[in-house]
């Protein structure tokens, strides 16, 4: 593993790194050299890109988006995409002790020597890890302290839809589907790099900002009212647009898909083929950000999926194919696809799995096709416990649906059920909490009756985190005390050996709510918290709330302002420059309907709701008859 790397991390470092690997937990995280890893020669001539995932290898290697970009970039002859992940604490210590900069897995090259570093933004609580990766890679944290000698730092992913808390650190955000725009960025970069001797980083950014879907935070200035709300945005560069429309890939069948993904040597969270069946979801749950920012729904054809499945299998040898989407049972051809896959693979030692199932008998029937004997467990997300709340969140699943589905699952032989609920929703009353308890008890009773002793029920109860670009973006998050009171009440009411209950950490939920809807002033807080040692915040054992509180105090910012303040209709949101396709006006009307306890139908089953994407939907032929 040392060959050909000597000029990057030099020989001495390689010996040290080998020794370090012998001393840390799970060294397989840091060695690279997995099957299907891409290595390139003559790398002096290549545009070198590090795809960075701000969490452990096991987590990052499970994300499809990360694999898609790796594949697209490495298909280019002029570029080389490598990977870097957050080191675990023991390896980080070892890097510091031995004075070794954080390096990529492919070439063991220090991060600072890359042309471009692209961060994958999947959840807010990974922000400190981003700073830590830059820091360990010896790259200045703030965008303004980096010039053309430093790597260009870009970022994309769902969390980029409110880029503001990271505005100080990231040079450029990609909004929306990254498949096409990544090539456009590299083309422009390469062009600039060829003449970069006489050119500046600013010039590069000015070339890049002309691409649709690119947000460059340093090109804007944000002004505030005295009460802390935003008064207006101002742009510093002529070509910076005032609306950054997200990028949308129109035809998934024609979009590159990684059929030869890296097969990790060690176990990772999702060690399987991930087959993206469709993108987007128009069920319209009002708390759900994914349901808005990934619109419209774009399906892959069955033929295309079968071909992708076969190629991926030949190239990886994975024993599981997982059909991924926001709601698998909503795929228009799901029955025939599942059947074909099961027929094709079950005698070859390969299983099919269907995460994210809808609550109905059809979904149980699908699951039954894939798990005929080994019935591991079924997961459903009723979210709420009353009819009224169902209407508020627009989840059109009734109590009867749930009971019928669970009943059917027991009949088909399942013994383990997992249910997700949410509390802290707008206009929630004691009755809604009682509703959740009633639902849990009823399912438990049914389980005991139908399954008996072997029945187990897993309940996960989470606090609402109001997200940008959702109808609930105006809502105040409930305080910790209120949430904890509800959690305690539920615990008190539900005592049973067959039920295991888990709740979200309310402090973590608070911080997540702050950063979800945060503005760019939070950059200072973020850096401060990082300097105080915060990292891996989403891992309970690492989360240090006190350091966060102190960091907010230092900059005189108030968590409650971000989390617990109800926004007004005309408030300017920090993410207002980002156009996710669904209009703010539509979101507001959905919020009003929520308060009126009125449902909105899925535009796949009914008429177009005119959410703002009409032009695209028309172009790709969605809801043609109705819009």
């Amino acid at each position: 593993m040392i060959i050909d790397r000597n000029h990057k991390n030099n020989n001495r470092n390689m010996i040290i790194i080998n020794k370090m690997l012998g001393e840390v937990e799970k060294p397989g995280r840091y060695t690279g050299e997995e099957y299907n890893e891409i290595k390139k020669e003559n790398d002096q001539q290549l545009i070198r890109i590090a795809l960075a995932f701000p969490d452990l290898y096991e987590i990052g290697m499970s994300y499809l988006g990360f694999k898609i970009l790796y594949d697209i970039i490495n298909k280019r002859e002029d570029s080389w995409a490598e990977r870097v992940f957050s080191p675990a604490l023991d390896f980080e210590k070892s890097l510091i002790k031995n004075d070794i900069p954080l390096f990529s897995l492919e070439s063991f090259r220090p991060l600072s020597e890359f042309n471009i570093i692209g961060f994958s933004l999947q959840y807010e609580m990974s922000y400190t890890n981003i700073l830590n990766i830059l820091h360990l890679g010896r790259i200045p944290l703030r965008a303004r302290n980096r010039d053309k000698e430093n790597p260009l730092i870009i970022a994309g992913g769902p969390v980029a839809f409110n880029p503001e808390p990271l505005a100080e650190f990231i040079d450029l955000f990609v909004i929306g589907d990254g498949e096409e725009v990544i090539n456009e960025i590299i083309d422009i970069y390469k062009d600039w790099y060829g003449k970069s001797e006489n050119s500046s980083k600013k010039e590069l950014l000015n070339n890049l900002v002309r691409l649709p879907g690119i947000y460059i935070p340093s090109f804007y200035q944000v002004n505030y009212h005295t009460d802390g709300r935003i008064s207006f945005f101002q742009k510093n560069e002529k070509h910076a647009p005032f609306k950054i429309r997200k990028r949308i890939v129109k035809n998934l069948d024609k979009t590159p898909f990684p059929i030869a993904p890296i097969v990790p040597n060690i176990d990772v969270v999702h060690n399987r083929i991930t087959l993206e069946v469709f993108r987007g979801c128009t069920r319209g749950c009002r708390f759900c950000q994914a349901g808005i920012i990934y619109r419209p729904v774009r399906e892959r054809s069955v033929g295309c999926l079968l071909e992708l499945a076969e190629n991926s299998f030949i190239n990886t040898g994975y024993e599981e194919i997982s059909l991924s989407s926001l709601s698998s049972s909503d795929y228009s051809q799901i029955d025939s696809l599942t059947k074909k896959l099961v027929d094709c693979y079950q005698n070859r030692g390969v299983g099919i799995s269907l995460p994210s199932l809808r609550i109905d008998n059809f979904s149980v029937h699908l699951a039954n096709q894939t798990q005929r004997v080994r019935k591991t467990g079924l997961t459903f997300a009723p979210e709420v416990g009353t009819e009224r709340m169902n209407k508020i969140i627009n989840k059109n699943v009734s109590e009867e649906d749930l009971f019928r589905t669970v009943q059917y699952a027991f009949k088909m032989g399942w013994r383990r059920i997992k249910l997700y609920f949410m509390v802290g929703l707008p206009a929630e009353t004691q009755e809604d909490i009682e509703g959740i308890i009633r639902l849990i008890k009823k399912v438990e009773m049914m389980g005991r009756e139908k399954v008996g002793k072997k029945f187990s029920l897993n309940i996960s109860i989470n606090a609402l985190i109001p997200k940008p670009h959702t109808p609930f973006q105006w809502v105040a998050q409930e305080t910790e005390e209120e949430l904890n009171k509800k959690f305690r009440y539920i615990i008190q009411k539900i005592r049973s050996n067959s039920i295991s209950l888990s709740f979200s950490d309310t402090k973590l939920a608070l911080l997540e709510a702050v950063f979800s809807r945060g503005d760019r002033r939070l950059g200072d807080v973020l850096e401060e918290a990082f300097r105080r040692g915060c990292k891996f915040d989403s891992w309970r054992e690492h989360f240090n709330f006190k350091s966060w509180q102190e960091s907010f105090q230092k900059f005189d910012l108030d968590m409650a302002f971000y989390a617990h303040r109800e926004r007004g209709k005309d408030d300017i949101m920090p993410w207002d420059l980002i156009d996710c396709g669904v209009s703010k006006q539509y979101l507001w009307s959905e919020w009003e309907k929520a308060i009126q306890e009125a449902n909105t139908d899925d535009c796949r089953q009914s008429i177009c709701n005119s959410c703002g994407l009409e032009d695209i939907c028309q172009e790709i032929g969605i809801n043609r008859n109705n819009s």
Binding site: P27, G28, Y35, I266, E319, N347, G349, V350, V373, R374
Partner: protein
């Protein structure tokens, strides 16, 4: 009909850092990629079956590890080897394949001893005399060690600390000094009732004799010694 194949393989490079469980997974995927007609388990969710010799502790290189697979159809030994190696990841390589359908002895009975090699590398360059001195020092220690009735160590297990006696597992310890640049020690351990103990505690004891002057370099499991050879 089913056909049993016993294979010798290498586990080194990046793969010396993966666990036995991970190796198991990895090998199953290699077999699926190679499109080997492996026999599947019964039932609706058939899975492929492989069996491995004793686990190799993390960080140790394996030069001739052993695994067995069962095929539905016979395959020429060389072909099987070629097919697997073509799709194996870096650090895994099949060295030898033997069809053993007629001599089905479980690996746990077949393998009697495991032979380990490890290097002690001087921290600073030292001369020949010094080398001889340290060499002898270790040799003396080994002699005393092997004269002992028992060598008890505390081992962490699921039920807290457990005491194990290492003595019955040690068969031989040989010491070689190669030029002036390293001491090579060969350690042969008995496999008792299928248990192949972790050599690290013994290696550590030997390395501690010359603690401040030498570092442990590579550790290798060189080979297994099986029934028929004894």
């Amino acid at each position: 009909m089913s056909y049993l194949y016993r294979m010798k393989y290498q586990k080194n490079g990046p793969l010396r850092f993966i666990s036995h469980l991970d190796l198991n997974q990895l090998f199953r995927r290699v077999l699926l990629r190679a499109d080997i007609p492996v026999e599947l388990t019964e039932g609706y969710n058939p899975r492929i079956k492989v069996s491995f010799g004793p686990a190799l502790p993390l960080g140790i290189e394996g030069w001739q590890e052993i695994t067995e697979i069962v095929l539905k159809e016979p395959l020429a030994e060389e072909e099987l080897k070629g097919k697997i190696n073509k799709v194996a990841p870096s650090g895994f390589k099949i060295l030898e394949v033997e069809e053993v359908s007629n001599k089905r002895i479980p690996l746990s009975k077949l393998l009697r001893q495991a032979s380990y090699l490890f290097y002690l590398i001087p921290v600073d360059a030292i001369d020949a005399n010094k080398m001889v001195y340290y060499h002898n020092k270790i040799e003396q220690y080994v002699k005393c060690l092997l004269d002992r009735k028992d060598i008890k160590i505390k081992k962490e297990s699921k039920k807290g600390l457990k005491e194990v006696d290492l003595r019955p597992y040690i068969s031989k310890i040989n010491i070689f000094s190669k030029n002036n640049d390293r001491i090579i020690i060969c350690l042969i351990l008995n496999i008792e009732a299928g248990v192949c103990i972790n050599p690290n505690p013994i290696i550590q004891m030997l390395a501690d004799v010359v603690k401040d002057y030498f570092l442990i370099g590579k550790i290798i499991r060189e080979k297994f010694i099986s029934e028929s050879l004894i």
